[in-house]
Amino acid sequence: MKGAILNVTENIAKTIINFLEKGLDKKCFDAVLIPIKVPAGDSFAWVLVQNKSLLKDANPLPPVMPVQGAKALSSITKMGKTNRKIAAIMRPCEVRAAVELSKLEQVNLENIFLISIDCPGVLPLKDYLGRPKEAMDKFNKILHSAQNDIQWGNESTRPACQVCDKFIGTDIGFCQSNLHIGILGTEDKIIFLIPNNESGKSILNEMDIEAEKSVDNWEKKAKEIIEVRKKKRKEVQERLKSEVMGIDNLLDTFSKCINCHNCRSACPICYCRQCYFESEIMKLPSDDYLMRADSKGALRFLPDTLLFHLGRMTHMSLSCVGCGACEDACPMSIDVSQIFNFVADNSQELFNYVPGKSVEESLPLKTYEEDELHKVEI
């Protein structure tokens, strides 16, 4: 792989923002979609920016992910393509979710220039909201620790992030952004701009940037950390088995669930305006409930907590990108993301499918082979 090298001025965030401003100046794109610190300073929100002065509070790699970037992108492109060209700088899981959503016709990627960036993960939202300043310091430490520590944040980031092995926005992370920004293996002195396709190369050209340098240092470091994460993912999923396998364990795990469906609302893949599990079909006559209560002596009310989660798994696990938005949103701190990751990995493996890897790769349920999956037939 080849890329361009940019010297870091002040810090990595500033360097990236300067790069984006240059792109706006040269009219390579008309607007930027980037997280910006909210007026109260206690969180970050996605903002579509045309006025460069707004970028002073921007942060391309914020310490938290309150809203999944693909969801933000979908809110503007659901009804069609944008007329102006927009550069969206997002984390690899957000780019992958955006690519999945484009297959599901919830995001229109025409005129969107996707930029990804090496991601150490994010801090749990509740941790950040409690103490924003300390959290920001902690996150900055994590960001810079990669040069010496291949754990890269494994102790303090969200559980979903700790087991993420797809935090790189190139083919080694199964991600197809237009341009990827590499910050690993650089001693914080430079960043790599790595075009993933022609579109990426041509934007760099327009900005008079040549992508001719080797990025081997970066790739080596990235692969090292990926191996660590892969191992951790396996370990965590082994441990998880004993917690969730079997109906009793599942019921126990979801016993604290209050059916708020925040996990569904935060999930970028769950795009249904009205979820099946919130529709008329789930509202039964009182006899039904009483009959069900009678059969076991008691019925948890509202019933069908597990049905909702298993159902959601069935509906979206093939496209689950493991972003962890669900676990940040859960008020009862249930390990939703870990459980869904576990199931998703298995169901995706069935079809050798990686969500968000490629726009061309068809959703498994939209296609079929005549001769496959014989093991499920009897």
Binding site: S53, L54, P66, L125, I258, S286, Y289, G297, R300
Partner: protein, 369 residues
């Protein structure tokens, strides 16, 4: 004066005995109350039909995993319960249910409603680590002494409507020094009296509006005022609203758990609020920047407009918010104010019409110009 069933048992035992009596005698086919659903201390509302499962009931456990009014609405949405069911709910949940019945989202028929003079519930996050069990002795201690229980939901600590208005049966808890040995169960309605006919216990006369109740109401009113003064929403303005809701992630969890928000598909989740990219691009051009997903503030003000008139201050919205925004306080303050305009109290009386469904020919001339 109201007829009172007096037993020499702790309130927890007495309430469980009452439920057992009702189920065993066949007077009710089901019991709707909080139950320990597994060995790990998880507590959830349940519909119980067997005496065996009733053993795990914890009717007075200070947790509200969902608003029972919303759950009763789900139970009776498609028609009232055919056989009698007794439901143990908190005063705000009961008020919420009445508001839903007014909106044709539930039915009161065949429901025996049991409530209590409510000392409040703990926030949901305390249930995450099983911390509530550790707090129980402090909870009952404060309740006995007629003090506000610390660390309960803010809207509980400031709740002045802790005396149920429409319950058939009310269990008195607040300020009752001897709740470990004695229980007074008020039979407010004929229905209540009929259902307990035949139960063991002494029948006396009593007054719900006791000194302890009046004293607690004053304390709660003071706390409510303090809560409202602290948040100071009148000083918000647009800037203040933007600051408060800056961290809102648009999950709409507040709406999903709210008993009054019963719409299958909220306006704000519908196509009405989805626009072609050109609409957003026009906004972008004018403002120079546009937060996306859009309509964060408009959703909050919109929900206030729709729900404020019936807000009962249960506090689930704030509990479920992933961004720790004090939604319940904001909604209760605005709700109280809107309700005062019409001298309306949600859930006070099922015959009392919701103000937006009716009118006077000569009113509010001060808003005309």
């Amino acid at each position: 004066m109201t007829k009172v069933l007096k037993t020499n048992k702790s309130v927890e035992e007495a309430v469980k005995e009452l439920l057992k009596f009702l189920l065993k005698s066949g007077k009710v086919k089901g019991v709707f109350t909080l139950r320990k659903i597994n060995g790990n201390g998880a507590v959830a509302y349940s519909l119980i039909t067997s005496l065996d499962m009733l053993k795990d009931a914890v009717p007075l456990f200070p947790l509200m995993p969902a608003n029972a009014g919303k759950l009763l609405s789900n139970l009776t949405l498609r028609g009232s319960v055919v056989d009698p069911v007794v439901a143990v709910v908190r005063p705000c949940e009961l008020r919420a249910f009445i508001e839903l019945v007014k909106r044709k989202q539930g039915s009161l028929e065949n429901l025996l409603l049991v409530s209590s003079t409510c000392a409040g519930v703990y926030p949901l996050e305390m249930a995450v680590n099983g911390d509530i069990d550790k707090k129980l002795s402090q909870y009952w201690d404060a309740t006995k002494r007629g003090e506000i229980v610390p660390d309960t939901r803010p809207t509980c600590m400031g709740c002045e409507h802790f005396l149920p208005y429409t319950a058939d049966i009310t269990v008195t808890l607040i300020g009752k020094k001897d709740i470990d040995n004695q229980c007074e169960i008020f039979l407010n309605t004929e229905k209540g009296q009929q259902f307990v006919d035949g139960i063991d216990g002494e029948f006396v006369e009593g007054k719900l509006e006791s000194e302890e109740v009046v004293s607690m109401r004053n304390k709660r009113k003071d706390e409510k005022k303090r809560l409202f003064d602290e948040i100071g929403i009148e000083k918000f303005g647009l800037k203040g609203l933007i600051e408060t809701f800056g961290k809102c992630i648009g999950c709409h969890g507040c709406s999903k758990v709210c008993p009054i928000c019963y719409c299958n598909l909220c306006y704000s989740d519908s196509k009405t609020y989805e626009h072609k990219p050109s609409v957003y691009e026009m906004q972008l051009k004018r403002r120079g920047g546009l937060r996306v997903p859009p309509d964060t503030i408009s959703y909050q003000i919109g929900r206030l407009t729709h729900v404020g008139i019936s807000c009962v201050g249960c506090g689930l919205c704030a509990d479920v918010c992933p961004a720790n925004i004090p939604i319940s306080t904001i909604f209760l303050k605005v709700g109280d104010s809107v309700q005062k305009m019409f001298d309306y109290l949600p859930g006070r009386d099922v015959e009392e019409q919701i103000p937006v469904t009716t009118f006077e020919t000569d009113e509010f001339v001060e808003v005309e110009d």
